[in-house]
Symmetry: C2
Subunit: 211 residues, 2 copies
Amino acid sequence: MIIPQSIQDAAKELSALPGIGPRTAQRLAFFLLKRPDIINDQLAESISKLQKTLSECTTCQNFTESNPCAICQDPSRDQAKLCIVESPIDAYNTERTSYQGRYFILHGALSPIDGITPAKLKIPELIDLITRTANKLQEGRNPDQETKLEIILATNPTMEGEATASYIQKHLENITNIQCTRLARGLPMGADLEHIDEVTLERAFQGREGF
Amino acid sequence: MIIPQSIQDAAKELSALPGIGPRTAQRLAFFLLKRPDIINDQLAESISKLQKTLSECTTCQNFTESNPCAICQDPSRDQAKLCIVESPIDAYNTERTSYQGRYFILHGALSPIDGITPAKLKIPELIDLITRTANKLQEGRNPDQETKLEIILATNPTMEGEATASYIQKHLENITNIQCTRLARGLPMGADLEHIDEVTLERAFQGREGF
């Protein structure tokens, strides 16, 4: 084998990334060799810096450079809405909607077979956060404001996501002053009925709305 | 926007790699956040080290950690064969065949419109190398050995690759004691005639061989 060790090393490290096989990794290594060294150093530094500058917000568990994170600190956010998502990317995508409440990031979905338990998803901390927030809202300093805490269970519409939402919802039954909701199920925009799966279509019929 | 700066930085650097769009880059950044910090440091170091440990062999132009490279230094390599390829990957792939000669890496193919000139591909250095090697072989210390230098033009079967091979071949016409060859054209293994392009099929007919 005549491939220099440092190319083999870089290709091996790159091939550990998701979606990058050994051939693509080798191509990437040669691409890196062809561009200015300083650009590679910038890439290397940004990778190495990631975990060193970020921690998890102790309130919402999202990645943040300051603790608590910008959203948890922001008083203009609707304190009466808490959106529970599986991953930070889900929260960032939700930020592109009109939603203005707060978040809780599970960093996964329940999957006992993979060792992903409620404790690992920090569900005890979530329930504690919900209890405290609901109580604070009930103390109600603004009597004209809606004081019920809405918990929006925005886990993925998959087996694991649904199981996680059910689990959380069940453990919230004894808390007063809250209301659980979940995202609407139905046809995605731009879909055509010919190719949509039957489960989605069934849900779209069940949830049909008036004009 | 609530995505922490260091995630945005890493995603931006990653999206500069070929085949990695902004969405994939963001997913990769979150993947990096989830795995042990030390693994990310290894990836970063291997990227940063690449150009620092490698230079181009002054004989064959391949990437190498020592100059001249292992192949150019190896006396057991057939000194009477020189394979000219466009990229280091082409040489590494050729190493998986039974070829046992030496290489010259052009690092590209002629494309005047993109500013890739003969000088940029080090073709003058190549011609100089060929002249010296052919002369050395002619001095012939082993009279029972084949003393003609075979130049295998193994550029890609594309417009640019063919033009590069023709250009080199023309500039070698005045050198004695060499023989230019190029890789066989024909059907790739596993092809079926129904789907093969007509140019390949034409070449396969022209180059048909006896059993």
